[in-house]
Amino acid sequence: MNATDATNDARTPAGQDRPALCPRCAHEEITAVADSPVPGVWQVFQCARCLYMWRTTEPARRTTREAYPVGFRMTAADIETASEVPTVPPLLNR
């Protein structure tokens, strides 16, 4: 299944710059998930690959690639090799 949620559109909020990179995995495909109910205060973005979600008013350590802690970063390989919990069981023959 594609990691991108079909319910998330790719609008760029008016007057706001879409982040160029996911802070966590450096992927370039970012979607806008929500705008603040009070217009123009914040947006919520999501990475289409690692599904990391963040609000623009969060501290830089959560919102910028440069400040994102090395220990929390994720790579494409991390995602591909991540274990399944729980594992998908075999289909029963009926």
Binding site: V33, A34, P37, W42, A82, P89, P90
Partner: protein, 474 residues
């Protein structure tokens, strides 16, 4: 009177001085989580926290730390707020004996006031979502109760499960769900996935204060959490039928989210700062597709901060972990006086017991490790005498320092089972386990020089009450 919803409990907390309203504007992050984190650092009388002035939101109402102190936990059970942890555990165990108490089905649930379905479903429209810890992969629902049924036996009320599982918001109508394989919902999901079917679920947020206690309780697979809630409340638990799935949900919930766990789908989830005080994730986990949300007008969003203990999570799962162990141990060993299993969901347990004969306390320790919960958790057991209060850590440390001869009283057993989340396990899921026998040896175990112990004076208990009363009346 038991509470039928969260709002009536918040009213009581406020009257009792156990709800603090934060009226200044705060940022969704990091303020709300940091304040709830701080509540765990200001002592064991900490209040619940209420936020309704959150930057960027119009109508956010957020309750944190609702169970986050012994006072609040006591009030949730309808006990006086001064009730000690040990007394709360004893009362909890006493009420358990009334199980099962059949629930009461009610109409006109307050969450029927508003409904969204299909393409209109958007969690962000209804919930003021926010992140808890720096390394969390997103915004989580971590204090919700998830209801599901056994697909092979859908009419069995006891097999219908109500449990707290972490859920990450991964889209406007998508949640990632963590069903640890030993949990009941994982069994439901496995059966559904073997058939290639979706598993219907209902997720209830902002519940009456007994629901989070029973939803985190290690009950048997066929035991109903609603019937346990009735026993703890001392009155039937009010439930209602969720309109989309037909599942039984708490009548008093603020929000009821209905949908399905999509069959045979996994997506990257986490990490999430867990009850162990460490992150877990990212792993590929099942996904819930939301199809309908029902909610009270201006819903209260209740969440829970967890991280380095102690946090609300520890107060919430401390007593409900101690009681099953106490009941199971006492069933075979009536000498067991009290069980404190409040450390990391029972990874460490302190047991107070009388001794039948030499070596008896060590046997009680081994039995604790082989109870249903012990198989996955109890890795360290400290045994203390019957006159030592296992909830009084300075007393426990006295017993350990004075009574333990390490060579004979510390026993390490290699390669036993434990939950994979246990950070010290190696490989994950396997650990050594330890018994520390800090009881006084009795015949035929005649080791040590314990002579005649100094006991509290017979009149001390009466004077304790008297001093407390005098202090309270000042």
């Amino acid at each position: 009177m038991p509470y039928d919803d969260l709002r009536s409990f918040l009213d009581t907390l406020e009257k009792e001085g156990q709800l603090l309203r934060i009226t200044e504007e705060v940022l969704p992050e990091p303020d709300i989580a940091a304040a709830a984190n701080a509540a765990g650092r200001i002592g064991d009388g900490a209040p619940a926290l209420w936020f309704d002035n959150v930057k960027g939101f119009m109508d956010a109402r957020i309750a944190m730390n609702v169970h986050g102190s012994w006072r609040n936990h006591a009030l949730a059970l309808g006990l006086p707020k001064e009730t000690s942890p040990r007394e709360q555990v004893e009362e909890f165990a006493r009420r358990w004996d009334a199980f099962p108490v059949a629930p009461e089905r009610r109409a006109d649930a307050p969450w029927q006031e508003n409904t969204v379905t299909g393409e209109d479903v958007n969690l962000f429209d209804i919930l003021p979502l926010f992140r808890l810890n720096d390394g969390d992969g997103g915004f989580y629902l971590d204090k919700a109760a998830v209801v599901s049924r056994d697909p092979e036996d859908p009419d069995h009320f006891g097999k219908q499960n109500l449990g707290t599982y972490r859920m990450e918001v991964i889209g406007r109508d998508r949640l990632a769900l963590q069903p640890v394989p030993v949990h009941d919902i994982a069994k439901h999901l496995r059966i559904a996935e073997e058939r290639g079917e979706d598993l219907p679920v209902a997720i209830t947020l902002g519940n009456d204060p007994v629901v989070p206690i029973v939803a985190g309780m290690p009950l048997r697979y066929d035991q109903s959490e609603y019937e346990m809630a009735g026993a703890l409340r001392g009155a039937p638990m009010p439930i209602a039928t969720a309109p989309h799935t037909g599942l039984d949900v708490p009548w008093g919930a603020e929000v009821v989210i209905e949908g399905v766990v999509e069959s045979r789908v996994r997506q990257i989830e986490g990490p999430f700062g867990e009850f162990t005080g460490h992150y877990s994730g990212g792993r590929r986990m099942p996904v819930i597709r939301i199809e309908r949300i029902s909610y009270r007008t201006n819903p209260v969003f209740e969440s829970l901060y967890l991280g380095m203990p102690w946090t609300e999570c520890d107060y919430l799962v401390g007593p409900n972990t101690s009681v099953p162990l106490l009941k199971q141990l006492r069933a075979e060993f009536p000498e067991v006086r009290a069980v404190n299993a409040m450390y990391t969901h029972g990874l460490l347990v302190i047991i107070s017991t009388a001794k039948r004969y030499g070596g008896f306390a060590k046997a009680v320790g081994m039995r604790a490790m082989t109870t249903p919960h012990g198989l996955g958790y109890v890795s360290q057991v400290i045994l203390v005498d019957e006159d030592v209060d296992p909830f009084d850590l300075p007393q426990v440390m006295w017993a350990q320092s004075a009574k333990v001869n390490p060579k004979e009283d510390v026993i390490v057993l290699p390669n036993l089972s434990v939950v994979e989340l246990a950070p010290a396990s190696q490989p994950a899921g396997v650990t050594s386990k330890m018994i520390i026998d800090a009881t006084t040896p009795v015949a035929p175990d005649v080791r040590g020089n314990f002579g005649t112990p100094v006991k509290d004076l017979p009149e001390t208990a009466e004077w304790t009450k008297r001093l407390r009363a005098l202090l309270a009346d000042r």
